[in-house]
């Protein structure tokens, strides 16, 4: 029978195929687990060390002088909120309007250049942005300040927000624009009342992710806000922030400060997790609405 050897060969081949399939499945699973391990470990350590130090005083009190136990990080929590607010006030209008421009009018050499610049800016190390802001804001003002920190973080937000906005504005179907234009809407009304509304969910997601990213930035703040052990919400003065406080406390010699650094880390991680979940949630809503 001629089919006998062929059948044998195919059985061997089949076994090899199954083995290859199984091996690849295991490799892929291992890689996936390996990718998740760091996150799990971080969450575990931060929670294990941070939770004990996370109490009411942590949220309500100011830092105690070096070496003394007790106190909290109220100033750093507020400082981070102030910095994120400032950065958003600078980064969101520029990012969103720039993105709209790129999507609606950016099919020219200038648009191409801006797009390229944004992509490069997204890759610039944050410490370099810190140095830049130190030169253009801190030096002329003769002082480290919350404002300088806001500018640095705002600059960091621009490329993400701009490119996300552009992509999502481009995704809005032409039929939506046509509908608005045919009703006698001007181009800017079409963009702001219809196109941006249609792209809203995705843009909010991009904004939340950009905020999550800058909320934990440390390097540019070293050179711009300096940090502050006291209560300050003045924009022209140094201001405290969670990442900087973590940095200072972590390299200090006192156990109590180490515990507080863990607690602050936990708070930052929670903040960023909440932002990420919110971003997911908003996106989900958008997809559901469009169907």
């Amino acid at each position: 029978m001629t089919s006998a050897p062929r059948r044998t060969r195919s059985r061997v081949w089949e076994a090899k195929r199954k083995a290859a399939n199984g091996t690849m499945w295991i490799v892929a699973c291992t890689a996936t687990v390996a990718a998740v391990i760091p996150l799990v470990v971080i969450l575990y350590y931060v929670a294990a060390h941070g939770l004990p130090a996370l109490n009411i005083a942590f949220f309500t009190q100011l830092p105690k002088p070096p070496g003394e136990t007790g106190g909290g990080m109220a100033n750093a929590i507020v400082g981070t909120l102030v910095l994120v607010g400032l950065a958003s006030a600078i980064g969101l209008p520029i990012g969103i309007l720039g993105g709209v421009y790129l999507a609606e009018f950016g099919n020219n050499r200038f648009g191409w250049g801006v797009r390229f610049a944004a992509d490069v800016l997204a890759g610039v190390p944050s410490i370099v942005i810190g140095i830049l802001v130190w030169v253009i804001v801190v030096v002329p003002m003769h002082s480290f300040s919350a404002l300088a920190g806001g500018v640095a973080l705002g600059i960091m937000m621009i490329p993400t927000v701009m490119r996300t906005t552009e992509e999502l504005v481009r995704l809005v179907p032409l039929s939506q624009r046509e509908a608005a234009l045919s009703l006698g809407a001007t181009q800017w009304r079409t963009v702001f009342k219809v196109v941006l509304l249609a792209a809203k969910g995705g843009i909010i997601t991009g904004v939340l992710l950009a905020v999550a990213r800058i909320a934990g930035e440390t390097a540019p703040l070293l050179l711009t806000t300096l940090g502050n052990s006291f209560w300050s919400t003045r924009l022209d003065r140094p201001i405290a922030s969670l990442p900087l406080q973590i940095f200072q406390y972590a390299i200090s010699p006192w156990d109590d400060w180490h515990a507080k650094a863990w607690a602050a880390s936990l708070l930052l991680v929670l903040l960023i997790t909440v932002l990420s979940i919110a971003a997911r949630y908003v996106t989900r809503g958008r997809l559901r609405a469009v169907r």
Partner: protein, 268 residues
């Protein structure tokens, strides 16, 4: 020959009841180098339904979009010739396109409601033009939805998303949205091609009612639809208007051999 056809048509249909609303003379249209319309001349009469048929790519949609300058949006588009709305050239340099589009509204092939509530969709036009607010706006929205034969179905769900409606309802919502800015002319670009037969029937009934107050120009793939709803039908082929005449005549004894071939299904 075309001119005589237009003249005949003008004599037979234009009168005291149905004066000429839009007069198109020698209209050429180019997408870059491609000429999509060739020397189109015809009259559209007031408070009548004028339908245009023809195979895909024959220029009928382009022609429709030329009537409210929606082609302006397309890069590399160029228009020559004259389109007179109530005797005024809409392609004159001093024409305000926004004002023009308020007078000449458009319904598209696929329902394209905005991602807003049903109410806000209809209120969009009045709001941007600032001619109604508060209770007045609510009245206007109700009137528009009633005229579009949608009010009874949506009066309790005005705050819901427009996407929650069916395709046919969405298309009637789009018609209501156009009516809310009180246009004189309504252009319809294959308004039923994405709808099921029942929704199509409803839109056709609606067109019949609307013609009492509006001038309607419709482009359709569906010849039965053109025969059912329109007073006048024009046949486009390769960017040219081959023939234009009363619909009853067009679908029974067209003058041009090409029209006959198309209508009897020999091509297209």
């Amino acid at each position: 020959m075309l001119d005589t056809a237009v003249m005949q048509h003008a004599e037979t249909t234009a009168g005291a009841d149905h004066p000429i609303k839009i007069a198109i003379a020698g209209l050429d249209f180019f997408y870059g180098r491609f000429q999509a319309l060739r020397n189109v001349s015809l009259n559209v009469c007031e408070r009548q339904i004028t339908a245009f048929i023809g195979p895909s790519g024959c220029g009928k949609s382009t022609f429709l979009r030329a009537l409210n300058r929606m082609n302006d949006v397309i890069e590399g588009a160029r228009t020559q010739g004259r389109v007179l709305l109530d005797g005024e050239d809409i392609y004159a340099p001093d024409v305000d396109v926004v004002a023009l589009r308020r007078r000449v509204g458009m319904v598209f092939q696929r329902p394209n409601p905005f991602p807003m509530s049903i109410f806000d969709n209809v209120a969009f036009g009045p709001r941007i033009h600032g001619f109604a607010r508060g209770a007045e706006l609510e009245d206007l929205v109700e009137r528009s939805l009633t005229r579009a034969a949608l009010w009874d179905e949506v009066k309790d769900i005005l705050r819901q998303s427009a996407f929650s409606l069916s395709g046919g309802q969405q298309q009637r919502l789009c018609i209501a949205r156009v009516l809310a800015v009180d246009p004189e002319v309504v252009l319809m670009d294959e308004p039923c091609s994405a709808l099921d037969p029942i929704s199509t029937l409803r839109i056709e009934e609606l067109m019949n009612e609307l013609k009492e107050n509006y001038t309607i120009v419709i482009v359709t793939h569906n010849m039965q639809q053109a025969a059912r709803v329109s007073h006048v039908t024009g046949f486009f082929l390769h960017g040219e208007l081959i023939e234009l005449g009363p619909s009853a005549k067009m679908f029974t004894q067209p003058d041009d051999k090409r029209t006959e071939d198309y209508i009897t299904g020999r091509f297209g």
